[in-house]
Each structure stands twice: as C-alpha cells, then as structure tokens.
Symmetry: C2
Subunit: 200 residues, 2 copies
C-alpha cells in the first residue's frame, strides 16, 4: 500500500494537472491559441531566474520561484479572472480563498500550510519576494502583449492609463524594468498627452 | 533604447514561448489533448518542490528546480523525441546540441553559459540534482500514465520490461519513490512472471 503521505502528495500533483485547462486572455506568441495558466506559470519561473538581477537587493529567488509556480493553482476552482473585468473581480477573493482551502487541503498539512501561506503572501504583495513575483506576473502579460503588437489591450480597448495602472506593480517590485515598460507602452499606444499626464 | 543586456534576455524569453507548441506523447489528465513541454516543465517544478523529501540527502532544490524549468527548451528546435523510438534517439544528441547552441546563445553570455551547463548537467545525469531531476522527469510520465490507466504504454504496446528500464532513473535518483513505482506497474501491467524476472 502506498504511504498515506505520498498518496496525498500524488493526489495534489494529479489534481493540479487541471491548471493546464484554465485559459488566460492572452495568446501564445504568434499563435491564435490562448495560453493556459500552467504554461504561464512555467514561463514566469524561467523569467524569475533570468531577471533576478532586476529584483530589489536581498530578494530570495528560491521563494519567488516556488511562489510563482503555485500562484495560479486556485484558478482550478476559481477560474482566471480577467484583470479588466470589474464585476468578476468583486468576488474573486472569496472564490479563490475557497479554492485554496480545497486544493492546498489535499496535501499533507505541513506542505499544504506552506503553499497556502506562500499563495497568501503573493496575494498580499508586501514582501520583496511577493512584490517581485507580482511584478513578473504583470511583466509577462506585458511581454506577450508587446510581442503581439498590443493585441489584448487593443482587442479589449483598454486605455493607456489603465494599462499603466495595471503595470504599476512592476514599478514597485522590479523598478529596474520600469523605464523599459514606460518607453515600450509609449511606442505602442502613443505618447501620453501632457493634459492627461497632469490630471492622473 | 532598451539596454542590450535586457534586450537579449527578452529575446530569449519570447523565443522560449515556442516550447508551448512542442507536443509530448502523453495526454493531460482526463483529456484527449496532448501535453506540451512547457506545461510538463511547470508540473516538474511543482513536483520537485513537493517531493524534495524523496531526493538523496544534500540535493540542492533550487538548482534542481531551475534545471527542470529549462531541461526541455532544446526541443524548440530539436522536437520531443519519443522515448521508445530508437531511430529518432540515434541523432537526438546532435540535434539537441545544435539547438542548445542557438537558444542559449540568445542570452547574455554569462546566463547562456550557466543555462547551457545546467542542461548538460541534466543530460549527463551524474550530480545528485541531475539524478533527482531525471527521476522526476520519468516519475511525471509515470504519474500521467497511471492516471490514464496506463494509456501511453498500452497504446504503443510497450512491454513491462521496457517500462521498468525506462523508469530506472527513479530507482537511482529518488530511491524512496521506487517501491511505489514497482508496485503500481505490477498492478497495471500484471506481476512479472518468475522466468522473465530471472532472465532479465
């Protein structure tokens, strides 16, 4: 008989396979197919490793990596909530907490608690690791949108002001990447008129 | 203008998006769709974190994680080589080395060299990290096959002896998982007859 601890670990490992069926709003580069949240999480892990030098000094890369790998598993129950959909965002927290309880509850308690608190840390965005992880999450969407010529932004008619609001965690969590973001959004969406800048 | 170092990092990050288009032979759990190598790499990262306690003492989890995240990127040029296809495996090494040269060559040299040597370490399978990473790579295919009732093995008429050969890196790199593998393959494929066991 399989050891009960390994059994619980395997149950979780099989259950999170479903993240491969959760679709995001962004397409994979150069293709029409939407990206799923498992692929996205992989890409974030690679980005964390390569862009670690833009994280604030003292950020623990190992914790950031693990946080990124599990930051979206709650979507298995709660679904991917489109960033620019205000009504869906209203009950996002409730749906995701319930999902965290069920999913992390599959694991042996020590591991479930650890992953749950890592996920909460990501959501709260107060530690350097959580800020850097959130910055990369936004930066990935940014890189994809830029690769597709601003595809998602244009398709959903998102204003430049809202894009910059959405990207703001990059300014906080990976400030060294911010000038690149500002310049690139200007190139794609046109420069910000002086009056809009003053009123923001 | 974007800093040339960041430009190279971004070029690599965008290029490896193509790993999401490389299909493996295993289906995602409960679905007909084949898994791609980016999703697979994500799943391995999660598994490494959760199954670290089965790695030999002293295995560096951070290095294992990073190794797993990048171990398949060469498939972008070289394709996924089916484990049980002998002719495709003959020139696998040549195709993959050429791919490594091009892909890791996109990065700033310090990072390219680091990832390239991590990939070669994985392929050589001689360090504890590389052994554990290889064990998880096989264990993932194992978990998926078991979830699908032995689907890929049965569809391609793979003998039990060849399955066990293929799974052997688990015995070496994560010996604590081996009894579970032996017992589960017995359950799915039937116990090994005594004469076959003696003749192996």
């Amino acid at each position: 008989m399989t050891d009960p601890r390994l059994r619980r670990q395997l149950d979780f490992i099989v259950e999170v396979d479903k993240l491969k069926q959760v679709l995001r709003r962004t397409s994979i580069v150069g293709e029409a197919r939407l990206e799923n949240s498992a692929e996205h999480s992989w890409h974030l892990g690679v980005m964390a490793a390569l862009l670690a030098e833009y994280a604030p000094h003292g950020t623990d890369l190992g914790r950031t990596l693990l946080m990124l790998l599990i930051h979206d598993v709650v979507e298995i129950d709660a679904g991917d909530t489109f960033a620019f959909d205000e009504s869906a965002n209203a009950d996002k927290l409730v749906r995701e907490r319930k999902a965290a309880e069920r999913l992390f509850g599959l694991l042996p308690p020590d591991q479930g608690d650890r992953l749950w608190s890592l996920w909460e840390e990501f959501e709260a965005g107060r530690t350097p690791e959580a800020r850097f992880a959130n910055a990369l999450d936004r930066f990935h969407a940014f890189v994809q949108n830029v690769s597709n010529g601003g595809g998602t932004w244009k398709a959903h008619a998102i204003s430049k002001e809202r894009i910059m609001q959405r990207m703001d965690p990059i300014r906080e969590g990976a400030p060294a990447l911010w000038p690149h973001v500002v310049r690139t959004v200007d190139e794609i969406m046109g420069p910000t008129p002086p009056e809009e800048e003053a009123g923001a």
